[in-house]
């Protein structure tokens, strides 16, 4: 079978596509159209997956007629397997087993054709064409390929996120015209899609061709003007961050606040896992402690303290940090998997603790604690998502700043040393106990701050908000973003928390997509989307960073 890689990949891909179809993903995705009345997201999902898989044997064969034959044959086999599924559906009622194998699905697979054989013919044709495109893409020059992929990705994204983009554009004078041009009905208009494709392709080509030269010119600027340029960029970035909620509107601001909470949690976990290398799977515990501390101290429903947010906040952060220390202390000697399992347990214990009947008078049990007052500052109330956004933005900036300062310090270095080699770190005079406790205290403190803001944002806290999925989500955020990387956390949170919020109707498939994304990341880009430099070194054994070409010379003599 190895002589015909197209067949192998075709069979594997076919199985994937059949699974995507019968679990209902294709049909669910079909609710959104990318180009109005031409291509829907469900079809795009199938075709993109098919193109990606057909690309692999062609790339392996190194292009040429053999590569082309491999990709076309794999494309045909994949679609033939879908065609078999369609045929099977006419004989057997698949729905008895696969509840999502609905007539609608087969309608999509037949490209909405009434006649079975015309539909199957179209399906096979699409497979052949997809394979052909993928095969040709292997052979096209690097530049063209990157441009085409960038443009296609943008068109698919812009088409998919119509619900999000269109309302924003519609409100802003000149952008409204673009909006009318771009969208039509339930998706992009044909001229809109073509225009967008060309515009993005041109921009991508320009960047690839000229980007290095521009970067080089910026590098060669005198330090004063370079600093000015940096200042200008920072100011511009700051301005955009400040006006963002008003441009984006209520719903998207809400999404931004959720991303922000995850950024804070991610930065906290990043200190523990990324900097110090301790696998903590119970991170939700500190989030919960932060939330509950605020709730207990401020909620008039319980009426114990009735403090305001600013009085309670330091206590909440301190409580988080102390919990971090308490959880860390018994597991100090554990490493790797054992630590992960122990912390996983602690995360659950906190939630069960809150649920207990014994503590109900103080913690509210399953009903939670309500009526948590909004945050007030100089008479300004942080009530709506747009207002809470600023609170969260401030929190993210503060935590990001602290994490950044800590990373390049004595403390950050001791964390890195412990991560790299615990025994040697100790032999260098690093006290393992206090170093690890500090990592847990700081990481937990960050997450408690996130929890504190979460509590006032929601106005109430319930035990079920603090389940294990939060811990897993945070872990995914930092893995996808790049373990140990501060900007990586932001990118990871936007990708893994932001996108699913925008694609709510596919929420059922969220975990499936998470799993697929994680597997793909581990295979294709294990260092994450925005990698941290030492982790990159770890994963790429003998390669050198491009900036160190001169330094790389002596390394070749390595014994």
């Amino acid at each position: 079978m190895n002589r015909f890689p197209g067949i192998k990949y075709g069979l594997i891909g076919g199985v994937c596509l059949v699974i995507l179809s019968i679990i209902g993903m294709v049909e669910a995705f079909n609710q959104r159209e990318i180009v109005s009345e031409v291509i829907s997201m469900g079809q795009a999902l199938l075709l993109t997956a098919a193109a990606f898989i057909a690309y692999l044997p062609a790339a392996r064969a190194g292009g040429g007629t053999r590569g082309l034959a491999a990709s076309v044959s794999s494309g045909l086999i994949m679609m033939a397997m879908l065609a078999l599924l369609v045929l099977l559906s006419t004989v057997v009622n698949l729905r008895q087993v696969f509840i999502n194998a609905s007539p609608g699905l087969f309608q999509i697979l037949k490209f909405q054709q009434e006649d079975l054989w015309v539909g199957i013919g179209l399906l096979l044709l699409a497979g052949g064409l997809t394979g052909l495109t993928a095969g040709l893409l292997v052979m096209t020059p690097d530049l063209l390929r990157r441009v085409v992929i960038a443009a296609l990705t943008t068109v698919v994204m812009v088409g998919t996120l119509q619900d999000t983009i269109s309302p924003i554009f519609a409100e802003w004078g000149p952008l409204a015209d673009i909006n009318d041009l771009l969208y039509e009905g339930n998706g992009l208009s044909i001229p809109g899609a073509l225009g967008l494709f060309i515009a993005v392709a041109a921009a991508a080509a320009a960047w690839i061709l000229k980007g290095q030269a521009i970067k080089g010119r910026v590098q060669s600027l005198p330090p004063v003007s370079r600093r000015r340029l940096n200042m200008a960029l920072v100011l511009l970035g700051g301005f955009v961050l400040l006006v963002l909620p008003h441009i984006l509107g209520l719903f998207l601001s809400e999404v931004l606040t959720i991303i922000g909470l995850y950024i804070m949690l991610g930065l906290g976990l990043n200190i523990i896992i990324g900097f110090s290398g301790m696998l903590d799977l119970g991170h939700v515990a500190y989030f919960a402690i932060g939330s509950y501390t605020i709730a207990i101290l401020t909620s008039p429903e319980l009426g114990f303290f009735n403090w305001n947010f600013w009085q309670a906040l330091p206590v909440a952060i301190a409580a988080g940090a102390v919990t971090g220390v308490l959880i860390c202390t018994p597991v100090l000697k554990m490493r790797g998997d054992y630590l992960a399992i122990a912390t996983l347990g602690f995360g659950e214990i906190i939630r069960l603790f809150v649920l207990s009947d014994f503590l109900r008078p103080w913690l509210g049990g399953a009903q939670g604690i309500g009526k948590i007052p909004k945050v007030e500052l100089f008479g300004f109330e942080f009530g709506t998502p747009q207002q809470v956004y600023y609170l969260i933005l401030a929190g993210c900036l503060l935590i990001g700043f602290i994490a950044w300062r800590l990373r390049d310090s004595r403390l950050g270095r001791s964390w890195m040393a412990v991560r790299e080699d615990e025994d040697v770190a100790q032999a260098m005079g690093i006290n393992l106990v206090s170093t690890k406790l500090k990592a847990f205290a700081v990481g937990a403190g960050f997450s408690a701050l996130s929890g504190a803001i979460f509590a006032t944002k929601l106005g109430s806290v319930y035990p079920h908000s603090f389940n294990i999925m939060i811990s897993i989500n945070i872990l995914c955020v930092i893995i996808v973003g790049g373990i140990g990387s501060i900007p990586g956390v932001v990118v990871g949170a936007a990708a893994l928390v932001g996108l699913p919020e925008l694609l709510r109707e596919f929420a059922e498939y969220r975990l499936l997509v998470y799993g697929a994304v994680l597997v793909a990341m581990m295979l294709l880009k294990p260092e994450g989307l925005w990698p941290e430099v030492t982790h990159k070194r770890e994963l790429h054994e003998s390669e050198n960073d491009s900036g160190e070409t001169t330094a790389a010379e002596p390394a070749r003599n390595k014994a």
């Binding site: 700043f401 403390l411 040697v424 260098m428 005079g429 690093i430 700081v442 770890e538 390394a555």
Partner: protein, 262 residues
Amino acid sequence: MAVITTQQLTKQFGGLVAIDKLDLDVKEQSIHSVIGPNGAGKTTVFNCITGFYRPEGGDILLDERSLVGLLPDQIVRRGIARTYQNIRLFQNLTALENILVGLHGHLKAGFFGIVLRSPATRREEKESAEEASRLLKFVNLGGKGDMIAKNLPYGDQRRLEIARALATRPKVLCLDEPAAGMNPKESQDLMDFIRHLRDALGITILLIEHQMRVVMGISEIVTVLDYGKKIAEGTPAEVQRNPQVIEAYLGRGSAAQQPHAA
């Protein structure tokens, strides 16, 4: 005067006695070697002195204060630093960062000092960066501070590991087979370097080494271990003539090392 003294030091692993009632006196500013056939307990002695193992019996004294029961990080702060038989650098950190980690025990910056970048912290960071590059220069790695440790050539890694140990400002430097894997030219350089180290910094060197050329070339005192027991001690010349030592090496068919000793 003795810097490190072990009195009746005993270490057991289950039924195996790795070190058996060892008495050792390491004189200040000397170059003192510990040799012996494989499995004689040399590295175990190091691990006891530096606190990685807790001895079952006896005592270890540094300047007449006991080290037994202290943690490795406490011992290194008392002034004993070490290198490892198989180089154990922080592979993915740069050469400079490796040394900065070694300076850790001498820095004081706390959480708030770091976050607010207080003047004291800034001064400390600047000074430690200077000291680190001084140390790099001292071990002939000047200008290689930004290289990733694992990308350095083998000999450089050995020297970087020594520089990292020196960063802890030790009184005693324990070198575990520093010449392993080196050719005659490289070991000669290393010998000169170790002597220079002792003379320039006035520290004591405790050395484990297999290459007899190195041991006999630079040691002032040699202690020979066999099965965890001290079987001989003296100047290189005395030890070489000792019949028990010759038996320990030759008797086990380790004759391959004899030509070096000659």
